[in-house]
Point group: C2
Chain length 218, copies 2
């Protein structure tokens, strides 16, 4: 099974899985994802936590609580790794060795910077909020002083980043192609379900258009 | 916005996001996920890569190529962190500070052990393959000697693991509840698309039942 390891060479040899150098592809993967996995080192050991993020230009903003040890550690200028993965399908092959997945992933390395200035913090939170829920920053109540203080934001330059994308059919060995074994891709689809209103909503508050007409998740 | 940070205390206070102690919940999240994010430390810096995995009892098997530096590093008994996250919905709140996501996540810490014995390696690859594509180990061609040698498998005990689950409506402040601001959850649904056969498939090979009747992704 050739999973997502970036140095899995047999699949790269076949050109089905590839490292993508292009910055537009990096932006596209980051923009299509909904959450990231933030990695940092705590007491010498790796920690990987899911969290929200957003991108503006070549800056990635990552969100958290000031109470989170992760964010405190990372905000001290430590190395972090932010990975965004979109799983697009399961690749069924003739040989178990060639089982794989179709996916898009972006891996960003670097030293994070804590965003502390009020203006940049508000701007970064707008980016993160509108990434998770487009149109919401302009619609919902903005953070007050206390909320802003309780929120930690990291900024990470997209200087050192890698994109890997696998698409297409299985990469079986030539010798296996005549087997009467089904092979192909089972696509994984993502969609939004119907909005589920908060039970405490006052009567008559409509679902806003930025929710009802939100484009399907990438 | 209260995202996924496990120490985001305000939401825990409200009981909507919670740490789950129960081992059954840990197993359920790991079994529902499709890929994991494997974290390790390379030259002092964190690296987070998506990869395949499977669970048997309280052992997590993680897959890779022997060519992958990640797997080589992790197989040397180094600390790793394996995180599985299922995103279930976007939580739209009255205040941007309370934007969040509904999710299930499992974070496993520990020292990985390289699986080297032929029998355990085959058993582990069966677990990983049948996690990604149930029924496929029994259907597809098993690995030959060369393929087995080219595949690295790590084993990780589920001793040190945490589960976090958030469900339910937004956790807005009491003072915001009367606002004429829509709040609720936009559920994220996952489903399988129709199987897409490999173009090189011989005529007449049917899509097997373990593919056509695969239960929906968790």
């Amino acid at each position: 099974m050739n999973a997502l390891s970036p140095t899995e060479r047999s699949t790269i040899r076949r050109g089905k899985k590839r490292a993508v150098a292009d910055r537009g592809a990096l932006h596209a993967v980051l923009d299509a994802g909904l959450i990231c996995h933030l990695g940092f080192v705590a007491d010498g050991a790796p920690v990987v936590l899911p969290t929200g993020y957003g991108r503006e230009g070549d800056t990635l903003y990552v969100h958290g609580s000031t109470g989170a040890a992760s964010l405190r550690a990372a905000a001290g200028g430590a190395e972090v790794c932010v990975t965004v993965t979109l799983l697009d399908g399961i690749v069924y092959s003739r040989a178990v060795f060639h089982f794989s997945v179709n996916y898009r992933s972006a891996v960003v390395h670097g030293r994070a910077r804590a965003v502390t200035g009020r203006d940049e913090k508000l701007a970064a939170l707008r980016v993160i909020t509108n990434h998770l829920a487009p149109g919401s920053w302009e619609y919902a109540r903005e953070p007050d002083q206390r909320e802003l203080a309780a929120t930690a934001v990291l900024a990470l330059d997209l200087t050192e980043a890698a994109v890997k994308i696998r698409t297409g059919p299985p990469g079986d060995e030539q010798a296996d192609l005549d087997r009467p074994t089904w092979a192909g891709v089972l696509p994984l689809r993502r969609s939004w379900g119907p909005p589920d209103p908060c039970p405490e909503l006052p009567a008559g508050v409509p679902v806003p258009e930025h929710v009802t007409s939100r484009p399907g998740p990438g």
